[in-house]
């Protein structure tokens, strides 16, 4: 069964459209990861204890 699945996967992956979509998703995931990694911390300021009240 696994061999069959693998063969099917190879056949599907050989299709240029599938490869293009797969690559697009791959690059999109990289970009989204970068946005997540470098976008979040910009609005996080270190906490401090306010002692004036």
């Amino acid at each position: 069964v696994i061999a069959n699945w693998y063969a099917t996967l190879l056949t599907v992956a050989a299709n240029p459209w599938v490869r293009a979509v797969g690559l697009t998703l791959y690059y999109l995931a990289i970009l989204a990861g970068l946005v997540f990694l470098y976008g979040k911390r910009h609005f996080q300021t270190p906490p401090f204890v306010y002692q004036g009240f």
Binding site: L31, G39, F53
Partner: protein
């Protein structure tokens, strides 16, 4: 020497078919999809800002001072008044300005943009970040008199906790501000290097701005296009952050919908008198008018009493060298260059307490006089409430307003918003009349 690279199976097949760069189209498609997602997110955020901005007036968003997008949206509304300040602006009170003017009784509502432990060095950054949007816009800046008694610069921790990267970048790469103002701000901001560690481009720009040399100026202008690009990216993040705030399910509905409509203001003096009566019962465990709970926490054994005026020399020295003066001067220059219409309100000193700890009225007078002189120099109206220096019920401690104090503050804001100036900003008897409220002398507006 290296191994020969075997031909990729695709290469031969793709030759001459236009697919010799199989990664190009997917990469371009990914960038395009991301751009579409960002645009959709931006438009969603802007819609939320436009729709929910008024709700922010009744349920102040946390970290509003660090949300430039929301401040900018408030600037665009003719019926919102921006109020910048420190903790006194954000700490809750039953007669806080945002409650007294919650349903737009006189046609506007305040947007309280305060930061605990905030100082002018931070307010000026947030204001500068709004740029030309401030042109012709009425802005109230609340100052705490006691901050001018501190000879040292603001500590690093509260500065870092209140710092806004988007505001800092906006001002560093601003094309609306003069080089002199940017230089003054850059020199102050470089005093807090920890806040610049994650932003090498900002740190670089500030270093060049602080430097007087021709080379530094050239380097700054060389970095300016990159800086403007960074500002654009930070703005997107700012909108995204604002969207997160505005999706709070506890945000109340737009208060205008339930508002009974414009109506004449009530009797402010009666409101202040009632607030004072109510406060008496909450401030009767000490002779200075501190809130009972605050007094118990702060001074469980009472304050250290000093002979009258014994600390005057030290206080005068601190007053002379407090960096808050230069920061306020820069703030007023920024507001002038951006074309804003500001009002300065000052929470006075709790004189009864200062008398006890050895700081005389004469020493305190130095602070009030210098504030007035600075405001006069810039042609900005100022109300310092110095006539409440001995008022037990105006502050709940050394710097935070009581309900009574808020009534006076709100009256001044209301009068200012409706174009009144000079003595008309003061709640009290008519000028020249006699009464319990000796009039301070606000500087005539420009």
């Amino acid at each position: 020497m290296g191994h020969p690279v075997p031909d990729h199976p695709d290469r031969g097949a793709a030759a001459g078919s236009g697919a010799s760069t199989p990664h190009l189209l997917p990469a371009a498609a990914a960038v395009l999809l991301l751009a579409l997602a960002v645009t959709a997110g931006y438009r969603t955020a802007r819609r939320a800002e436009r729709r929910l901005m008024h709700a922010v007036t009744t349920a102040p968003v946390s970290d509003l001072a660090q949300r430039r997008a929301l401040q900018l949206e408030a600037c665009r509304r003719h019926d919102l008044l921006l109020v910048y300040g420190s903790s006194e602006v954000v700490i809750e009170d039953p007669r806080h300005v945002s409650i007294l003017l919650r349903d737009y009784p006189t046609g506007f509502a305040p947007v309280a943009i305060g930061q605990k432990a905030g100082r002018c060095v931070l307010h000026v950054q947030h204001l500068a970040a709004l740029g030309r949007a401030l042109r012709g816009k009425k802005v109230v800046v609340s100052l705490t008199a006691t901050n001018f008694f501190e000879g040292n610069s603001m500590p690093a921790d509260p500065y870092a906790g209140n710092f806004s990267r988007v505001s800092a970048n906006e001002l560093a790469f601003s094309t609306d501000l003069s080089a002199g103002v940017k230089q003054a701000l850059a020199r102050r901001m470089l005093g807090y290097p920890k806040t610049l560690e994650d932003d090498p481009l900002l740190a670089f720009a500030l270093r060049q701005l602080a430097d007087d040399s021709l080379k530094a100026r050239a380097l700054y202008y060389a970095a300016l296009p990159l800086g403007r690009l960074q500002v654009r990216l930070l703005r997107l993040q700012d909108h995204w952050g604002a969207l997160g705030c505005l999706h709070d399910p506890n945000l109340p509905p737009d208060p205008r919908a339930a508002a009974p409509g414009p109506r004449p203001p009530g009797n402010w003096l009666a409101l202040a008198a009632r607030a004072e009566r109510e406060y008496r019962g909450r401030s009767d465990n000490n002779p200075f008018g501190f809130d009972n709970d605050l007094w118990r926490i702060r001074f469980p054994f009472g304050p250290h009493a000093n002979p009258p005026g014994v600390r005057d020399a030290n206080v005068r020295q601190s007053l002379a060298q407090a960096p808050e003066w230069d920061d306020l001067d820069t703030l007023l220059r920024v507001l002038h260059e951006l074309g804003a219409d500001p009002l300065l309100l000052v929470t006075p000193v709790k004189g009864t307490f200062f008398d006890r700890i050895g700081i005389s009225a004469d020493a305190r007078r130095v602070c009030y006089d210098r504030l007035r002189a600075l405001a006069r120099e810039h042609g900005v109206p100022l109300v310092d409430f110095d006539d409440h220096d001995q008022d037990r019920a105006f502050l709940v401690d050394n710097s935070h307003l009581s309900s009574k104090g808020w009534v006076y503050y709100t009256y001044a804001m209301d009068a200012f918003f409706h174009g009144r100036r000079g003595r008309d900003l003061l709640l009290g008897p008519t000028p020249g009349g006699e009464g319990d409220y000796p009039a301070a002398e606000p500087v005539t507006s420009r």
